[in-house]
């Protein structure tokens, strides 16, 4: 089959690789009909996530048709022919973390747990196409994929919904939603979202659905801000204005009640010297993550507010504003999305028309053009917001 493989930093290539086979009894093989490039794939592309190896298949947002199931799969749960969306964290459903619905912290699905715990203190779940630190599972930017615990994660798609309507249930829609949910939004809340990429857009929509009074998008890409505006959100262009002053202006001097970091470890920055400082430290491996959006969110958030982080961080950062965080009673809530928890409720919202996930799609490409898709997405060319790949 064809698959998009990581070759070296800043290089991916579509290669011929063997077709997947069942390795565990509760595996299924899925023939992929749609897959997507995620913002977090760019962290892998750029080489900021350790333990990538040449030839690793990328991709953790995919859906398709079940063509084979292992003998441990209960036919009542999943059968050949079912059309499914696959959540990116691989979860066993049986461990204490899964019982608490902390699926991305599953205790059983990372065969490289011994390695992961050295980075994170305790291991986390396996993730498709997301380095060997999260298990070394082949990803979904391919024609076929092996899906472990196929009777736990994958969501059967009801008839009448297109791939594009449900594909993002695999990651970015639940991730954006969890970002808003962690804010405990109450009526009257002003929610500011750093990053108007796809996850940021869905965090904004979700904050709105969950009852926010005002939602503010912060970015510097005009087309991304326009997209947020078209969805009914307010915007701040951080390349033009000082974010903190503008936020104070928009909130009567209080600062936003809730802040969502949908940027993560490779933040861009309005101030050239500070950007250069973090870039240099990151390049010299003195810090692994550039936490500019997170620092600003904590400084801007009103006292007693919530800063919710769904942008990806991988390692260590410095100049963390612990003083602001502690002295102003700010709550920091974080987590790699527990996708399985949100798939069904969000499917219902899509069916009711409350959320339209297709609004972020700007490019539809054949799988063979994946490297081009990575390129325009990374460099924000051609108005690229979200690339869907068709195998």
């Amino acid at each position: 089959m064809k698959a998009n493989c990581w070759i070296s930093p800043n290089r991916v290539q579509v290669r011929d690789v063997p077709d997947p086979v069942i390795l565990n009894r509760r595996d299924a093989i899925v023939k992929i009909t749609s897959t997507a490039i995620c913002g977090s794939d760019l962290h892998l592309l750029d080489g900021y996530v350790p333990t990538m190896q040449k030839g690793d298949i990328m991709g953790h947002e995919f859906m398709g048709e079940v063509i084979e199931v292992g003998d441990g799969i209960d036919a009542a749960r999943l059968r050949v022919g079912d059309r499914v969306v696959v959540p990116f964290p691989i979860a066993c459903g049986a461990c204490a973390a899964c019982q608490m619905e902390l699926y991305s912290c599953c205790e059983n699905t990372n065969p490289n747990a011994g390695l992961a715990e050295k980075f994170f203190g305790h291991p986390t779940a396996g993730i498709f196409g997301y380095s060997h630190l999260t298990g070394g599972f082949a990803g979904g930017q391919a024609q076929y994929a092996r899906v472990p615990f196929a009777d736990v994660g994958p969501l059967k798609v009801p008839d009448g919904l297109t791939d594009e309507q449900v594909l993002f249930l695999s990651d970015i829609l639940p991730t954006g939603y969890m970002g808003a949910e962690m804010c405990d939004i109450s009526p009257g809340d002003v929610v500011a979202v750093w990053g108007a990429g796809p996850v940021g857009q869905f965090a904004m929509d979700s904050a709105w659905v969950l009852g926010a009074e005002k939602v503010i998008a912060i970015d510097k890409e005009q087309y991304r801000l326009r997209m947020a505006e078209q969805a009914g959100h307010l915007t701040i262009d951080f390349s033009q204005v000082d974010v903190r002053s503008r936020l104070l202006e928009m909130t009567g001097g209080r600062g936003p009640d809730k802040c969502i970091d949908a940027v993560g470890m490779e933040a861009a920055h309005g101030s050239a010297p500070i950007y250069a400082y973090d870039r240099a430290k990151q390049a010299a491996r003195l810090e692994t993550d550039r936490p500019y959006a997170l620092r600003q969110a904590i400084m801007c958030c009103r006292s007693g507010g919530v800063v919710s982080v769904v942008g990806v961080y991988g390692g260590f950062l410095d100049k963390f504003p612990a003083g602001a965080w502690m002295n102003r009673s700010i709550t920091l809530r974080v987590g790699q999305c527990h996708v399985q928890r949100y798939m069904k409720p969000l499917l219902e919202r899509i069916q009711k028309g409350e959320i339209d996930p297709t609004r972020v799609i700007t490019h539809r490409l054949p799988l063979g053009k994946a490297p081009y898709g990575y390129d325009i997405f990374k460099h924000k060319q051609d108005g690229c917001e979200k690339v869907v790949l068709m195998p």
Binding site: A3, P18, Q53, P111, N112, H132, A138
Partner: protein
Amino acid sequence: MTDDNLMRALGWASVGLGVPPVLAPGEFVRAIGTGDGSRQRVTIALVGVRELAAAAGLLVQGSPVWLWARVGGDLMDLGLLARALKNHDGRGLGRTVAAFAGVVGITGVDVYGAVTRTRQKTPMDLTAAVTVARSQREVYDLWRRLENLPQFMAHVDEVRTTGQSRTHWRASAPFGRTVEWDAEITDDRPGERIAWRSVDGAPIENEGDVRFVPAPGARGTEIHVTLHYSMPAGKLGEAVARYFGEDPHQQLDDDLRRFKQLAEIGEVVRSEGAPGGKRARREFPQHPARPLGREELAEEAGV
């Protein structure tokens, strides 16, 4: 400080031999009759520094590595003295011969110490714990079927029941060797504890126990494992094994993780990067995260 008398004695001897050449290199080379040119003085000062390093290693660390370092130093000194004898101008020849004889004697003691201390078995204790979302009885039953152990213990290839409380074990050891031994169960309390020890003549004497304790908050069962065994080649062996990626603490943690997988989900989880399940011991570099080809699959199945 080390409590091994021989190592301590050799450590202090190193101090005695190291201080004079560093403080007074000229007097020292004249004392052993090898001429007192600047080259000889610098050489003997360096030999003194080496002795002091070995002294610190022996007295503080007490590792046989330092005894082998001393043996290496002795051979170097013998070489230097042999050359001095060959080019000798005759003045103080007797003193040089005496120094040579002295070093031969010290070398003998060092070799004896190094060999015996390396052969000596050092006891090693390992502990690890994991919480499994199953009842005490369920996890006890799974563990008690000792034939199951090779499924999750990376090094254990086979466990066979040979008698009432007797079992025969076969395990792989570092550097491709295989070790076998017999063990007996010394305590067996269903749902609570299993203890065992190797019987006489085992190449690696070992004993251990596993306790099953209810986890607070109805979270299942805590499994606490204690292993006690004598490492061949002692600390040196452990250091070498660690260098080759065989850290015993890590192994035990990984074994328990796989046991948890067996207990909670019924099998050991495999990924494309680690397709070998428990054989995925060598963590990096792994197989790339892409499906295995036919030959690769056959190889995994055949191992």
